[in-house]
C-alpha cells in the first residue's frame, strides 16, 4: 500500500520524533507535579521553566512573559476576556476572518455589553490598516487580528496594525496559532501585547498552548484555582505537553529560515504543476504574503464539487482540506473567511486547502501532482460552457455573460 500523503498541516501536524523523545520521560519516570517541593516536583518545574525559555526565545521575549495554556483557543480566550476584564469593558476591534476562538469570544463579550467592530478583509485576504484607523475609537481597549489566516494562509500586516493600536492607546492581540514558528515574530520589533500560540501546529503535541503577555500588560484570569502560571491560569501544568511545546519551539527556531525556503519551493512547485495541469484553477488570497507551506485553491466553475475532489484525493491517498461540505452540520456555514473576502457563497464553499509541513518531500509533491489532475477530472462542472471554467478571477465575472 502506497504511503499516504498528508497535506493538511493547517489542521494539525504530526509529532516530530525529536519532540516525542523529549516528552517521553515526562510520561513515565519524571511524573512530578511542578508545584511540589520534593525532587520529583523540582524536576518537573525545571522542565517547565526550560520549555518556557524556549517559547520565549522564539518570540524574543522574557520567560516571565509566557503563560502556558491548554491550547490556542484557551490562549485566545484568556487574551480577550482577560484583557477586557482588566480594562473593565469597552470597545474591541477584531477582523471578520478570525478563528472562531476569537470571534465566538467576542460574541460572548457582546452579550455582556462589550461593543465589537469587525474589520473587513480585501480581495487578497488582507485586513487593511486604514480600516483599523477608521474603526478605532477613544474607548477601544483591544484590537485582535490574527497573524496568518487558517483558511487562506495570508499573513496579516500585524506590525502596522499593532503600531496603530499602540498609537491609540489600545492593546493589540494576535492569534498566531498558524504563524508561530513559521515566520519571524520578534516582540522587540513589533508592539504586540498578547500572542496566542499552539503546539500542535508546529509538530508539537495537542493539548498545550501558550499566551505571550507583554510585561506591564494587565490581564485577569479566566480559570481560577491553585494559582499556577502567576495566578493567571490555574491548573496543574501539562508537563509533558509543555516540554513538547518547548522542544517544538527550539526546533522551529533552529530550522525556520531553511524550512520556510524549502516549503515555499514545494508550494510553488505545486502551484506551477496544478496551474499547468488544471486550467480553471485559481489561487485564493495574496500570492506571496502567505505562510510558506499554505495554498488555498479554487476551481472555477466546479466549486460545488470540491467534496468530490476531496473524497477522490482521500481515496487516492492524499489528505487535504476543503471548505465545501454539503453537510447537516456545516449547512449554514459557507466559509465566512472567503465570504468576507468577497467570494460568492458558492466559491466560498469550494476551496481546496493544501498545507505542507516538515516531513513533506519533493516526492510527495510529485505524487500529489500526478494524482490531483486525475481526481479533478471526476468533478462535474456546474455548467458546460467553457467560459465558466476558464479560470476567471473575482471581479471578472461579468465577462461570463458576454457574447461567445
Amino acid at each position: 500500500m502506497a504511503k499516504r500523503i498528508y497535506l493538511d498541516h493547517a489542521a494539525t501536524t504530526p509529532l516530530d520524533p525529536r519532540v516525542r523523545r523529549a516528552m517521553e520521560p515526562f510520561l513515565a519516570a519524571t511524573f512530578g507535579n511542578p508545584s511540589s517541593l520534593h525532587r520529583e516536583g523540582r524536576e518537573a518545574r525545571h522542565a517547565v521553566e526550560n520549555a518556557r525559555g524556549e517559547v520565549a526565545r522564539l518570540l524574543g521575549a522574557e520567560p516571565s512573559e509566557i503563560l502556558f495554556t491548554g491550547n490556542g483557543s484557551e490562549a485566545d480566550n484568556l487574551a480577550l476576556l482577560g484583557a477586557l476584564g482588566a480594562a473593565n469593558g469597552g470597545h474591541v476591534i477584531t477582523s471578520a476572518i478570525e478563528h472562531p476562538a476569537v470571534l465566538e469570544t467576542c460574541r460572548h463579550m457582546e452579550r455582556f455589553g462589550t461593543e465589537v467592530t469587525h474589520l473587513p478583509a480585501n480581495a487578497d485576504g488582507l485586513v487593511e490598516p486604514r480600516s483599523l484607523v477608521a474603526a478605532i475609537r477613544p474607548t477601544t481597549r483591544l484590537v485582535s487580528v490574527m497573524a496568518a489566516n487558517n483558511v487562506t494562509g495570508v499573513l496579516q500586516p500585524v506590525a502596522e496594525l499593532a503600531q496603530l493600536a499602540k498609537e491609540h492607546g489600545a492593546l493589540f492581540h494576535t492569534d498566531a496559532v498558524q504563524a508561530f514558528g513559521k515566520i519571524p515574530m520578534e516582540v522587540g520589533k513589533i508592539p504586540v501585547d498578547l500572542i496566542s500560540v499552539s503546539a500542535h501546529k508546529l509538530h508539537g503535541p495537542k493539548g498545550v498552548g501558550a499566551l505571550y503577555v507583554r510585561k506591564g500588560v494587565e490581564i485577569l484570569p479566566i480559570v481560577h484555582g491553585g494559582g499556577q502560571e502567576r495566578g493567571l491560569r490555574s491548573a496543574t501544568e501539562n508537563v509533558a505537553g509543555i516540554v513538547g511545546l518547548g522542544e517544538a519551539c527550539r526546533l522551529a527556531g533552529e530550522e525556520m529560515s531553511s524550512e520556510a525556503a524549502r516549503l515555499v519551493g514545494l508550494r510553488e512547485q505545486i502551484l506551477n504543476g496544478v496551474t499547468s495541469a488544471i486550467p480553471n484553477v485559481y489561487i485564493i488570497g495574496h500570492p506571496y504574503r502567505r505562510l510558506p507551506g499554505h495554498l488555498c485553491l479554487g476551481f472555477a466553475g466546479q466549486e460545488g464539487e470540491s467534496i468530490t475532489l476531496l473524497l477522490a484525493l482521500d481515496e487516492a491517498g492524499v489528505a487535504v482540506s476543503s471548505g465545501s461540505a454539503c453537510s447537516a452540520s456545516h449547512a449554514d456555514k459557507p466559509s465566512y473567511v472567503l465570504q468576507a473576502m468577497g467570494l460568492d457563497p458558492i466559491r466560498a464553499r469550494g476551496s481546496l486547502r493544501v498545507t505542507l509541513g516538515r516531513f513533506n518531500t519533493e516526492e510527495d509533491v510529485g505524487r500529489f501532482l500526478e494524482i490531483l489532475p486525475r481526481a479533478a477530472a471526476k468533478m462535474r462542472p456546474v455548467a458546460t460552457h467553457p467560459a465558466f471554467s476558464a479560470g476567471l478571477k473575482e471581479g471578472e465575472g461579468d465577462e461570463r455573460n458576454g457574447p461567445d
Binding site: A96, L119, A121, S131, A159, S257, Y288, R289, D314, E394
Partner: protein, 238 residues
C-alpha cells in the same frame, strides 16, 4: 515593485521568499527583478498602500460597518439562528423546513437522471451516496452527500437523508451522478403564512448550505405537537 532608489532587503533571512537568506535573493534580483515581490516585508507597503491592490466591492472601499452592502461581515456571522424571513440573497420566504428529529438529515425524494442505475448499483438502505441535483427542479451547484432510506427498484426513485461528507469519507460511497430532487419531507415549526394543501410556498430548507429560498407545492400535511409535517413537490430554487 519599487522602481526608484536602491533596494534594501530587511536582512531577516526569514525564507518566505523561497531563498534561505536575503543575500541569496539579492544575488538573483539583477536577473529576475520581479522576485522582489516575494519579499513580504518590502511588498507590504506596496500591497497595502497602492491603488493597484485588487479591491473588494463592499469591503475595504466602503467605511467599516456602513450598511451599504447586503453582506456585512458581522451580519453574515449573525445569520445563523435568526428568524428574519430573508434568505442569503435578501429574498423573503414563508417558513423554514426542518428535518425530522429521528432522521440523520433533510429527507429528499430523488430520481437519478438514469433511473436504471438504482438497480444497476444495487442500492440498499443505509448506503452512502453522493450526487448533484440537476434539472428542472432544484438544480444546485453543490454536490450532496446522504444516506439511503428507501429504494424503489421499479421506478428508480430513492429516498435519502442529506448528511455531511464525513460518512462518505469514513464508510465509502457510491456516486449517483446527476439526479432530480422530486420532493422534500420535513417539519414546519413556524410559518409566516397559514399552511394549506395545494398551495405553493417559498421556504428555506434549514440545512441548505447556500441558504437560498426554495419554492414548492404542499401536497401532504399532518399537524403534530412538534409542528406540521409536510411533503413538498414541484420544487424550484428561487
Amino acid at each position: 515593485m519599487r522602481e526608484t532608489g536602491p533596494i534594501e532587503l530587511p536582512g531577516l533571512d526569514c525564507g518566505l521568499c523561497g531563498y534561505k537568506t536575503c543575500a541569496e535573493l539579492l544575488e538573483r534580483l539583477p536577473q529576475k527583478p520581479d522576485l522582489i515581490k516575494r519579499c513580504i516585508h518590502l511588498s507590504e507597503e506596496a500591497v497595502l498602500g497602492q491603488e493597484s491592490t485588487p479591491k473588494l466591492a463592499g469591503a475595504a472601499q466602503v467605511p467599516v460597518e456602513c450598511g451599504a452592502c447586503a453582506l456585512r461581515p458581522s451580519e453574515t456571522l449573525r445569520m445563523k439562528g435568526t428568524q428574519q424571513w430573508l434568505d442569503s440573497l435578501g429574498r423573503e420566504f414563508d417558513f423554514y423546513l426542518e428535518h425530522f428529529p429521528e432522521d440523520p438529515g433533510p429527507r429528499e425524494i430523488i430520481l437519478p437522471h438514469n433511473p436504471m442505475i438504482t438497480r444497476e448499483m444495487k442500492l440498499r438502505k443505509g448506503e452512502i451516496l453522493i450526487g448533484r441535483p440537476l434539472g428542472m427542479s432544484c438544480g444546485c451547484p453543490i454536490t450532496h452527500c446522504g444516506v439511503v432510506m428507501e429504494v424503489d427498484e421499479r421506478t428508480g426513485v430513492i429516498v435519502w437523508c442529506v448528511t455531511g461528507p464525513l460518512g462518505p469519507r469514513q464508510l465509502g460511497y457510491k456516486d449517483l451522478g446527476y439526479y432530480v430532487a422530486e420532493g422534500y419531507e420535513g417539519l414546519v415549526r413556524e410559518s409566516r403564512r397559514e399552511l394549506g394543501i395545494g398551495m405553493r410556498y417559498f421556504f428555506q430548507p434549514r440545512m441548505c448550505m447556500l441558504q437560498w429560498r426554495h419554492s414548492g407545492l404542499v401536497n401532504y400535511m399532518n399537524r403534530t405537537k412538534e409542528g406540521v409535517q409536510v411533503r413538498l413537490e414541484g420544487l424550484w430554487i428561487g
